[in-house]
Each structure stands twice: as C-alpha cells, then as structure tokens.
C-alpha cells in the first residue's frame, strides 16, 4: 500500500510539553559514553554559558518521538509501522537542549514519495520552548518497505 502524497504540507497540533530532566540527560549521555562534564555537572555547563546540563546532539530525537508517532499513527497517511525503516535524520540547532527546558514539537509532512514499491515520508519537527523560543529543527525520513 502506497503513501498518500496529498498529505504533503499537513501540520500537526503541538505536542504536550516535554520536560527535559537533568537525570534524563545524564542517563542519555552515559548510554552513549559521552563523558564531557557539561552533560553531567551543572557547574561545568554554566561555565560554558548554559543554565544547566547540556544534552548531546542527538538527544532531541527522544523529544520528537511522540510527534513522529502522531504522523505514523495518522490513518490518513497510511504508514504500516511494522515495515518502517529509518532512512535519514538531521538536526539544525539554534541552541543545545538543556535541563529545565519545556519543549513543544510541531511536525509537518515535508515530502511523500513512492518509488520502487517503497514509500518515503519526510517530516520536519520544529522544537521550541513553551515560550516560543526555537531550539532545534529535526528532519526524519522514514522508509516504508513494500511487500517483497
């Protein structure tokens, strides 16, 4: 089943705010072996000009998971999640995510193509604080593999 290209441009309602916890950043940094003190020690982060511990660059993906789910579960778009593979991923940062951030995601379907029996869905998720300050833009391309 192919994806419906008429949904290109569809924007989803903002997600419930994601509260970025200091321990979550420490846990994520530990899981990827990131030992820089700015990920773990608020004082080290403050020395770099941040209000609290700094998240590693790919941490925003965790924040976007609920937003991506919104799209993948949108019956109109027609994604079969059991056939989804991660194609591309990109982050463009206004500033790093830090502990204490309350982040809201707004997702838009940027592109849908069907090629060679596979569907390609590109989403852009803008992550901003609840006050509207932009933090990072996140692009994901999901590949929905066709039936073999």
């Amino acid at each position: 089943m192919s994806l419906d290209p008429s949904y290109v441009g569809r924007t989803y309602p903002p997600t419930a705010p994601y509260q970025v916890g200091r321990e979550k950043i420490r846990e994520f940094a530990t899981a990827i072996g990131a030992t820089d003190p700015a990920h773990h020690d608020p004082e080290a982060a403050r020395a770099l000009g941040h209000p609290d511990v700094v998240a590693p660059p790919t941490f925003p993906f965790v924040v976007t998971m609920a937003a991506t789910q919104q799209i993948v579960e949108d019956p109109a778009v027609g994604v079969d999640y059991s056939r989804v593979v991660h194609g591309d991923q990109r982050f463009a940062y206004t500033r790093p995510v830090v502990a204490g951030d309350e982040l809201v995601c707004v997702s838009t379907i940027e592109d849908i193509t069907n090629r060679g029996g596979h569907g390609f869905l590109t989403t852009r998720t803008d992550i901003a604080t609840v006050a509207g300050e932009p933090v990072v833009a996140v692009w994901s391309k999901l590949v929905v593999r066709g039936e073999a």
Partner: protein, 130 residues
Amino acid sequence: MELPARTFRVTRADLVRYAGASGDFNPIHWSDRIATKVGLPGVIAHGMFTMALVGRALAEWAGAPDAVVDYGVRFTRPVVVPDDDEGTEIEVTAVVREVTEDGLTRLDITATCLGDKVLSQARATVRTSR
C-alpha cells in the same frame, strides 16, 4: 584535512542501555528471534545509537560538547551486534570540507562497521571558535 579516526565498541549491553535511555524499545535491537523473523541477520544497533556515537566524535573533535550546529546522516546498512563480549566496532573518520570566516567547520563523515559504510551523506557543521 582528515580528522583522527575514532573507534567505538558496541555490545548488546550498550544497546539495552541505549534502548532504556532513548525510549526506543523496538525488539529488533534486543531480540534475535524478532530480528531474524523480519529478515535481519540478527540484532542490530539503533541507527540513532550509531548517530549518537558519531555525534560524540564530532563534539570531541570540535573540543566542546555544545559545538554541533547542524548534523545529518543517511542510514545505509545495519550494524549487526553479535551476542558475545566483543560485540562489534564502528570506525568514524571525517574530512574538513570548509572552514568559514564566522568560525564554523563543515565536515564530511565516514562511519564503517567491518569495512562496510553504515552511513552515507553524513555531514556536520561544528563551531570551532566561540
């Protein structure tokens, strides 16, 4: 200019830890039974775990944990992680493409596992002066 290569060892324990930390509990990252059922050779690493390791290398090359301003990859091949103490290895290198006047460095990244490229179109921009 080529940046010094970094090698990251990846074991099953790392995948379990990353699953918990990221909230991505897709069973292809912890169950051989499910992974082989969907046609994979076995349990594979989360693409985002590979991307995170490369992100670490970027920050370490730039010399600051908050240096990465733009970072994108395409996942081309799965990183298969055997259920033993050694796991597997991901090797990361990067070439400097451009250094801008406002202190940004653009990098082209290569990440391989057992000699195969696991990422393509992997590019980053890092801030190299504050």
